[in-house]
Amino acid sequence: MVATRSGRFEIDRRTLLRTGGLGAVSLAGVGLLAACSGGTAGGGSGGGGGSLTFGSNASDAVPKKAYAAFVSAFEKKSKDTVSTNVSDHNSFQDKITNYLQGSPDDAFTWFAGYRMQYIAKKGLVGDVSDVWSKIGSNYSDALKKASTGEDGKQYFVPNYNYPWGFFYRKSFWQSNGWEVPGTFDELVALCKKMKAKGIIPIEFTDKDLWPACGTFDYLNMRINGYQFHVDLCAHKESWNSSQVKEVFDTWKELLPYYDPSAAGLTWQEGAQKLGNKQAGMMLLGSFITQQFTDASVLNDIDFFPFPEVKVEGTDAVEAPIDGLMLSKKGAQNQAAKDMLQFMGTGAGQEAYYSVDKSNIMTAKDADTSGYSAFTKKLSGVIADAKSISQFFDRDALPAMASNVLEPAMLNFLKSGTVNLANIESQAKTLYSQQ
C-alpha cells in the first residue's frame, strides 16, 4: 500500500461525503448559518474585480468541496475571481519546494510548524504580517505563534486544526466497567484488564510509519515538557540523552498491549478494529471519525486526552493546523491577500466547515453553535491547551522524521530496542546539511 504521511488523511474523506461524518452527528444547518452570519473581522479591503490562482492539495472529495465552498463564499464577498488548481495531496507535499520555485499559485494550502518555517526561511513564500494585523485578534496566541516564521513575521493563516488523543467506544467501555485513565499508570492497568479479556488494548498501526510519531510526541511532552519537544525537533537537544531514553523506556511498557500486527496495518484498518470492538482504544487525530460510516458507531465514539505521565497535567496537546499561505508572487496580489484575510474570519471558516466537519475551526468568531457535544469536547481540549504541537513530521526536519525517526520507531516496535546514539549521529549530519 502507499505509504501515506500525516496530513494525508483525506484519503478516505469520501466516506464522509456518503455519511455526513461528524456532521451527521453534529448539526447539518451550519452551512446555512455560515451563509447568513457574515464575518465580524471583515474579509478584505474589498475593491473587487481582482483575480488570483489558488493551489489546493485538497484532492479528496470532501475537502475539495469544502475549499470550493470557501472559495465561492470569498468570490461572492469580494467580487474577485479565483481559479483553483487541485493537486494530489501526496505529491503536492512531496514537491512543495519545486512547486514554489516553479510556477506557484498566488495562494496555496499548507501546514503550520517547521514545514512552514522552512519554506519561509528559504524565502519561497510571501509575508502576510499585514493580513495578520487585521485578523490577529481573531486567533489565540498559540495559533499566532504557530503561524510565525523564525524571523518573527507571519506567513500562514490557519483554517482548522484537529486534536490527537485516544478514541474509544463509550458503550464498549461502559459495559466492561472501564474508566478513562488519568495517568499513565492507570492506562497501563487498564490495558492489562483489557488484555485479560482477550481484547487488543491499544490499536496501533505503523504500516505508514508516521502514526507512531503521535505516541512519541505525547510521551515526550508528558515526560519532558513542550519546550523539550520543540527543542528536540529543532535539534537543540540531543537524541542521545536521558530524556529521550526515558521516553522510549516508558513507551516500552505499552508495547505488550499493542496490536501484534501493527507493522502491517494502516490507520484506516486500525480504525475498523476499534469500531468492531476488537480493540479498546486508539491514539490518532480526530480524522479517525471519518472511518466510522455507521452512524450508531460514530455516535458511540468518545475521546480522552493522552494521560498524565510525569509533567503534571495534560496541557500540551498535539493538534496540527492546516491553513493557507501565499507564494512570493501571491504576496504582490491584493486579491490573494484578501482571500487569506477571509480565511481568518468566522465567515470564511464556516464556509469550509459547512462541508468538512471533521475538524475544529480556529477563528475566535467562528460560529460553533453547530458543534456536537463530541466536537465541543475536541475543541475544548484545544482551547484549554497551554501549548499546541504540530506533530513530529511537521515540527522537525522532514528528512529527520521520515528517514530517521520513523524507521527507528518501527524497529523499536518490532524489537523493543532503539539506538539513540545512531539517531543522534544521523540528526547531527542531517541538521548540519540545512
Partner: protein, 307 residues
C-alpha cells in the same frame, strides 16, 4: 506428436524444424507438459484474479468476501474507476510522452547509428561505447543532477507554466530520450552495419549527399529494425515509472504508469476499483502485445538470433 513419427528422410529435409532439442515420447514429454501447464496456470492467476475482482461490485465482495463466487458481475467498477480516477488525462499524458519520446529517440539514434556504422572516423567506437554505457546505468544515478538541471533551465512562461523544464511533459520526454538514445543507437548501428556498403556507394556515384544516403537509402532498409525497436520502445516508455515520479509535480500531468500509484491511495481498501484501474492500465500494452507480438519479441532479441 506428429513430428516424431515423421519419416527420417522428411525430417532431414526440414533441418531447422527437426533439429531442435526434441523431447522424446514417454514420461519426459508428459512431465514437460505437466510442468508447463501448471506453470502457465500459476502464471495466469494474478491477472485472472485481478480481472475477476474487477468484475464484482464492492457490495457483493463485502458481503461474500473476495474469495467467493456469486453476486452479480459487470463492468460498473471500470466505469467508476475511469471517471473517479481521471484515466483520460493520464492516458493523454502517456500518449504524448510515449509518442514524442519514441519518435525523437529513433530519429536521433538512427542518425548517430548511420554516422557510426557507415563511416569510419576517429572516436566513433569510443562514442558508441559511451552511448551504450549510458543506457545501462540505473536511472537513479542521474536523477538528482537532471532534476536540478531542469529546475535551473529558465523558459519563458509562454512556453512553460513552471518557467522551467520541471513539471512539463517535455521534460519527461527529454529525460527518456536522453536515456534511450544510447540503446537505440547501439542496436541500429549493428543493423546498419549489416547493410552492404555498396548500396551507399551506388547512391554516392549518383551524386547523393550524406543526408540523401541516410534518408533515402539506409533508412528504408532499416525499417524492420525501426519497427521492432519502435514497438519495444513504446512499451518501455509507456511502462516508465521513474522519470515522471521525479520530474512531474502536478498529479494531473502524470502518465498512467506513475499515476496508478496515486490511484492505489485513492481506491484504498476498495480492491474492486483498484483491480479495474489496473486492468484499464494493462489494456493498451495488451493490445500492442497481441497486435505486434512479433515485432516486440523481435525488438527484444534484435541481433541475438544471429549467433
Amino acid at each position: 506428436m506428429t513430428t516424431t513419427t515423421a519419416p527420417a528422410a522428411a525430417r532431414r529435409t526440414r533441418v531447422t524444424a527437426s533439429t531442435r532439442t526434441r523431447i522424446k515420447n514417454g514420461p519426459g514429454v508428459w512431465g514437460a507438459y505437466l510442468f508447463l501447464t501448471v506453470a502457465a496456470i500459476l502464471w495466469l492467476i494474478p491477472l485472472l484474479w485481478a480481472v475477476y475482482t474487477s468484475l464484482r461490485p464492492k457490495a457483493d465482495t463485502d458481503r461474500l468476501g473476495y474469495f467467493s463466487i456469486g453476486g452479480s458481475y459487470g463492468f460498473s467498477n471500470f466505469a467508476q474507476a475511469w471517471t473517479q480516477g481521471g484515466f483520460l488525462t493520464y492516458f493523454g499524458n502517456s500518449a504524448f510522452i510515449t509518442i514524442a519520446t519514441v519518435v525523437l529517440t529513433l530519429f536521433f539514434a538512427s542518425m548517430m547509428a548511420f554516422a557510426v556504422s557507415r563511416f569510419s572516423w576517429r572516436f566513433n567506437v569510443t562514442l558508441l561505447i559511451m552511448f551504450t554505457a549510458g543506457n545501462l546505468l540505473p536511472p537513479q544515478v542521474l536523477a538528482t543532477p537532471i532534476f536540478e538541471l531542469f529546475k535551473l533551465i529558465q523558459l519563458p512562461y509562454s512556453i512553460s507554466d513552471s518557467g522551467s523544464l520541471l513539471n512539463q511533459l517535455v521534460g519527461v520526454v527529454a529525460a527518456n530520450t536522453g536515456f534511450q538514445i544510447g540503446f537505440c543507437t547501439f542496436v541500429l548501428s549493428n543493423f546498419m552495419k549489416a547493410i552492404p556498403q555498396e548500396l551507399g556507394e551506388a547512391a554516392r556515384v549518383d551524386g547523393a549527399g550524406v543526408w540523401t544516403q541516410y534518408w533515402r537509402v539506409i533508412m528504408p532498409l532499416t525499417r524492420p529494425a525501426l519497427a521492432a525497436l519502435g514497438t519495444l520502445e513504446v512499451i518501455f516508455i509507456y511502462n516508465d515509472y521513474f522519470w515522471p515520479l521525479i520530474l512531474i509535480q502536478s498529479g494531473n500531468r502524470l502518465p498512467i504508469t506513475t499515476a496508478i500509484n496515486n490511484l492505489q491511495g485513492q481506491f484504498l481498501s476498495n480492491y474492486n476499483l483498484l483491480s479495474a484501474g489496473a486492468i484499464i492500465t494493462v489494456i493498451p500494452t495488451l493490445v500492442i502485445y497481441l497486435a505486434l507480438q512479433r515485432q516486440f519479441v523481435a525488438g527484444l532479441t534484435l541481433g541475438a538470433s544471429k549467433g
